[in-house]
């Protein structure tokens, strides 16, 4: 089951390459695979970044809520610290979003 899923994933990942190999006119210009793989990379990068960022933020929020439940008097300060920490964690995913948007819209590597 898992192996067939992996095979399917590999196949999906290589479809743009096959499609370009089938179309020599499009592939004649050197490096024209960059465009479709840029789209793929942008999507997968954002997926990984969002997932890992959610894990990190979840840990931070869990710890902060735990602390707020133990110390309701310090809730305001804990919340401020939590929001700042969340912003700092989130900015890493935002970097990936910016890189993905550069890949999608600016397309610096035309090939």
């Amino acid at each position: 089951m898992r192996r067939s899923l992996m095979l399917a994933a590999v196949f999906v990942l290589t479809v743009p390459g096959f499609a370009l190999a089938q179309a020599p006119a499009a592939a004649a210009a050197t490096g024209s695979w960059v465009g479709p793989f840029g789209v793929l990379v942008a999507g997968f990068a954002m997926a990984f970044a969002a997932g890992l960022c959610a894990l990190g933020q979840g840990k931070a929020i869990a710890a902060a809520v735990d602390a707020m439940a133990r110390q309701p008097g310090a809730a305001a300060r804990i919340q401020t610290a939590m929001i700042i920490g969340l912003a700092l964690i989130e900015s890493l995913a935002i970097y990936v979003l910016v890189v993905a948007m550069i890949l999608l819209f600016v397309q610096p590597i035309k090939g």
């Binding site: 401020t80 929001i83 700042i84 912003a87 700092l88 900015s91 935002i94 970097y95 979003l97 948007m101």
Partner: protein, 263 residues
């Protein structure tokens, strides 16, 4: 971003959109300030009351983060906060471009913060004491010298990362939300579900109508409140980090806590 987002309805020829709408934000803020301070009363009413409450919030934050001596930086901090908040909220109005969804605007704000906190640090502590911050919090001694020399490039990179991260955080949050909204509108617009519902076919009326209603409910009930929350949150975070940087630049070396770690 023009590939996805619709350009704003009102455009000045030859002037970029974010500059036009920065002027609109300036006009709004100037008008509010004028109305609030037109006839100042000892017992505030109306607009004056509102603005005093807002500025009291800023003062409370400054007292918490920098300390009471930080109140002299209220003009810088409150101006940044109000400008970014107004810009964020303005970009939620359909047919209007948000100035904070452009890299140039956010980079300008972040560079102002970058130069301002260095200037504040040098002015409050003197040049040499301030430059000593860049060698870490350890006391000077011969044994510590290699570590302190090693700290200098690390600190410089960390300080240079601050404006970059301020810029990209605000820009990325705003543009990410705008692309999300644009895609949702694209899916449910007259080329999408609603167009399918109006096309006259039975399947279109059933699926497109229900789907369009769900999308409208999702947008109005969830996405727009989320965007409003993000607008406030990003303005708050920008102001908060600005205050942390100023606090880190003005506090003295002995109890320079972890404020140099924020980037």
């Amino acid at each position: 971003m023009e590939a996805i987002e619709h350009p704003p309805i009102f455009r000045l020829p030859g002037i970029p959109d974010h500059v036009t709408y920065t002027w609109l934000v300036m006009l709004i803020l100037a008008a509010v300030a004028f109305v609030a301070s037109r006839n100042i009363a000892l017992v505030p009413r109306g607009a004056q009351n509102f603005m005093e409450v807002v500025l009291e919030q800023f003062n409370g934050l400054i007292d918490d983060v920098i300390g009471p001596h930080g109140r002299r930086y209220l003009p810088l901090i409150a101006t940044l906060g109000l400008f970014i908040l107004t810009g964020n909220l303005l970009s939620l109005v359909p047919g209007v471009a948000g100035p904070t969804a452009n890299l140039n605007t956010t980079a300008a704000c972040a560079l102002v913060v970058f130069f301002a906190y260095h200037y504040i640090g040098i002015r409050t502590q003197g040049l040499l004491t301030y430059l000593d911050h860049f060698t870490g919090p350890m006391a000077w001694s011969w044994g510590m010298l290699p570590i302190k020399l090693l700290m200098i490039p690390i600190e410089i990179v960390s300080h240079l990362a601050r404006p970059l991260s301020l810029t990209l955080r605000l820009f990325g949050n705003m543009v990410g939300g705008h692309i999300l909204l644009a895609i949702i509108f694209f899916l449910m617009g007259f080329n999408g579900l609603i167009g399918w519902a109006l096309s006259g076919s039975v399947a279109g009326a059933a699926v497109g109508g229900i789907g369009g209603l769900i999308m409208i409910a999702f947008t109005v009930g969830f996405l727009y409140p989320l965007k409003i929350l993000v607008s406030f949150l990003q303005a708050f975070i920008f102001v908060m980090l600005t205050m942390l940087y100023i606090a880190g630049a003005t506090e003295h070396g002995e109890h320079a806590e972890h404020s140099s770690e924020h980037h």
